[in-house]
Amino acid sequence: MINGTEKILVCCGTGCIANGALDVAAALEAELAARNLSGDIAIDVVRTGCSGECEQGPVVRFMPRDLMYYRVSAKDAAAVVDSLEGEPVKKLLFRKDGEFFEHMDDNPYYALQHKVVLKDVGIIDPLSIDDYIARGGYEGLKRALTMTPDEIISEVEKSGLRGKGGAGFPTGTKWRSAASYDEWPKYIVCNGDEGDPGAFMDGSTMEGCPHAVIEGMIIGALAIQAEEGILYIRDEYALARDHIQHAIDDAYAAGILGESILGTDHKLDLSIVRGGGAFVCGESTALMQSIEGKVGEPRAKYVRSVQRGLFDHPTVLNNVESLASIPIILREGGEKYAELGTEKSKGTKVFAMVGKVKHTGLVEVPMGTTLRTLIYDIGGGIIGDRPFKAIQTGGPSGGCIPESLLDLPVDFDTLVEYGAMMGSGGMIVMDDRSCMVEVARYYVDFLCEESCGKCTPCREGLRQMRKILTDICEGRGKDGDIELLERIGHMMQDASLCALGRTAPNPVLTTIKFFRNEYEAHINEKSCPAGVCAKLTQFAIDPDKCIGCGLCQRACPADAISGERKEAHVIDPTKCIACGSCREACNVDAVLTERRPS
């Protein structure tokens, strides 16, 4: 029976909104109003942050019954409301092996996760401070207010929390060091400039539970005795910015921010600085330059930011996910947090798993979970059950990891030993139709645009690598190119000014290390084994496999495919632009990849 405590949670993360979630929420509200269920026994429609499985969005969940619907459209509103007191709508349920499942944890995508940072994301209305408080929000802050700065820092040290932006520097150590300088003002800064392509962990956290980030910042400010804090949020994240601003305003109104934090004589002001769309501003010193209203160029770190950072004052810069981990550490104690994870990497890590994986989305697991669990058990494996080739972690600073390393635990240190890294949490899954040389070129291209140009190794190194990689992809590769790439890469690692340049060669060096044969095929045989590099590839249709369905013909942007229905189709190589649309469209694997004759 509906009794008035029910809620319909509609995921309104960026991904679901793009899939029409706001229309779904409005349609559900209209449907409830039409049936007068919004009177005494109100059922609230709650627009939540990202519930995780973006691929299956918009996701709708009826609580407390825990009835979860996937791929809901506005047209389904009536059926969904009907089902609140009756049989579930079968077509919207999770389905596995022909059976239907109602609850969230029936879906292995969710069951295998362990949510700490994201525990409220997808459950609460991010615009409601009451929702956050009802689930224990600001309890950590209340406890911190009874502690000395030293005690707060000790609690964080006990948790073993390390910077989740990728570097893994112990958060407690950073705070202790900033606290040791008797120089004011001090600043606490949140790095919300998540720029790695394919990564949206921090954006989703800020969107889905902005108060956790703010609470973390207030606790950090108490620890280092800062009275001003700034959140630097990437220009592209409009929704995250709106939610954070809303949360800041609510926190002021509730007496949590401002002249007197919850009635104590501690004070803190928080404000947002909008990024300008420059990847390098995710680097700490560049970020601070940008906040100061300058061009975001990094400086050499002879003096650490904890001593002389923003406006030359002691500054703590923490990543969004690190800050969002703080409230629970203070609330439940550092030791409890340290129970999760591995010996040297405590707690959990949020990943954005994208690319050629079945269940794209946001995932939080304990540190030390293997890549295989992430990709196959949680992610459901590769789209179309194609062979796995590599997973790229850590964005443009990270590396490509081959299948042989899939059973390694993912934490700050293990992957580094094998020449890769965990990074900030972006994970891009690639199948046999992804060309590793082209992937390396893609990252170098990206970094070429984003390098600030201040130091020569990074600026010129990237440019030369781009030229060589482009040559290889377009059939002009020659003997010695691989070795030259390696030399340039090592030079950049040694000589670049900031982390952007020092890590920029990683995608190139790891693809050479693990997929050297692909480079050699491009250079020696002028062929692209994955069938991606257009200058080296042409497509043909296998007449024995083709069923004449016409899907490829419709997908072809160049009108290069002809054929009668139910008869084998043919590609005209003079018209073909080798985009591969036909291969993606074909359901029977009838499109063949061939080496393009030179």
């Binding site: 394919g198 061009v295 942007p557």
Partner: protein, 164 residues
């Protein structure tokens, strides 16, 4: 917008901020938002207000991707080239747009109708490849769907098209 309207809008934007260099980026972003680019007059006025060199503001305007010194088209087409979109064929969309509009990313069509921008990850990787026209998402886009979308905007005039 007339010249005097533009000047008063610029003044309004600038004076909303204290006279402190740290607000230079924010003021320029507001101008970008209001005019779709940063007019010369805007830089001059801001440099006077903040008492900083115009060259400093120009170097920021060229450094940050969110800022532009030339006017953008009526409709802004953004192609996401984040890794997920790239792997799922975003560059094929760019090639198709080139065929349809005759312009490359970063350029504006001669009639001033369209600008194409190749942008960094928009965080909607599950929907890759993604194209945004005036902020409206076109998800899991196939190359053959592009001409239809463009046509709709070209015909719709300033009001823009509908969601796909």
């Amino acid at each position: 917008m007339t010249d005097s309207e533009q000047i008063s809008k610029i003044t309004e934007i600038i004076e909303a901020y204290p006279k402190d260099q740290r607000f230079a980026l924010a003021a320029m972003q507001d101008m970008q938002h209001a005019f779709n680019y940063i007019p010369e007059e805007g830089i001059a006025a801001l440099s006077e207000y903040l008492a900083c060199a115009q060259s400093q503001l120009y170097s920021m305007a060229t450094f940050y991707k969110a800022l532009s010194l030339t006017p953008k088209g009526e409709h802004i087409i953004k192609i996401c080239n984040g890794t997920a979109c790239h792997l799922r064929g975003s560059m094929n969309l760019v090639t198709e747009l080139k065929r349809d509009l005759g312009i490359e990313p970063g350029e504006t069509s001669e009639d001033g109708k369209f600008s194409i921008e190749l942008v960094n990850c928009l965080g909607s990787c599950a929907l890759a490849p993604v194209m945004l026209v005036d902020g409206v998402y076109h998800n899991k886009l196939r190359v053959d769907q592009v001409p239809g979308i463009i046509e709709k905007y070209a015909n719709a005039g300033a009001e823009g098209g509908e969601q796909a």
